[in-house]
Symmetry: C2
Subunit: 120 residues, 2 copies
DNA sequence: AGCTTTGTCAACCATCTGGTTGACAACTGT
DNA sequence: ACAGTTGTCAACCAGATGGTTGACAAAGCT
């Protein structure tokens, strides 16, 4: 559970935290401003931000008594890379299966032989 | 918590479940075969698969007493779409910021070093 | 100096999660 | 009919999670 990928996925599994990320994608914001729309306590939002920070999705600056929150968008690339890797593997597998089925079809096909290869 | 996106993110927040997805991307497999590499009980793996199924990441067939597990890769596109949306928004913001800084730089260029002024 | 603003820390609570073991259901194969 | 294989269901447990309230720290404003 200490691995980064798990933390990032877990962080984004919460609707409030996803919303925080969405809003931070537009620009930095203070904790108070971020908390305002939700009907949970400021402390709860502070905790959510700590989870996002732990996952490396967010960092905090300092401006007097304010702690502006900043989105670290590069971490999202980590997830995208993981997801795309296996999504593409699965997709490729389907295409191979299609090819095999097409080939089987060709073999049993007496009348015509369309000769249609891969359609990547 | 019942929304699909939350369930999918939560499902992939566990290393075993991510590994299951990775292995299923290569091809369907039975519960027993999937459970074999891990040192947790078969029941635990069965639970993991139920989580993946609940998230729509996986479906189950039927072959005698076996229940072959199949990866539904399209759901991964949901996550990718969400992630990319905000990653790109954040990136675009940086590029605007860069443009602004470059413009400031152009304006009072000469022999002045650009200051570390406001960034919002 | 004293009050206000902004946010964190700590303790507490209910619920969810990931694991266990034991029982049993469904289907095969002899 | 009976034993074996494959997997699920149910009860239970420890630890994490998301929320609460109350106290307090740090910085700004008069």
């Amino acid at each position: 559970m200490t691995d980064q990928l798990s933390q990032v996925f877990a962080a984004l599994a919460d609707p409030i935290r996803r919303d925080l990320v969405a809003r931070l994608s537009v620009g930095d914001a203070t904790v108070g401003a971020l908390a305002e729309p939700y009907d949970v306590s400021l402390q709860a939002v502070s905790k959510h931000l700590k989870v996002l920070e732990g996952a490396g999705l967010v960092s905090r600056g300092r401006d007097a008594q304010r702690r502006p929150v900043h989105l670290e968008a590069e971490v999202l690339d980590l997830m995208t890379a993981w997801i795309e890797r296996y999504r593409r593997a699965a997709e490729a597998r389907y295409q191979r299966l299609d090819a095999v089925l097409a080939e089987l079809n060709d073999e049993h096909d007496l009348d015509h032989h369309p000769e249609q290869g891969e359609t990547a």
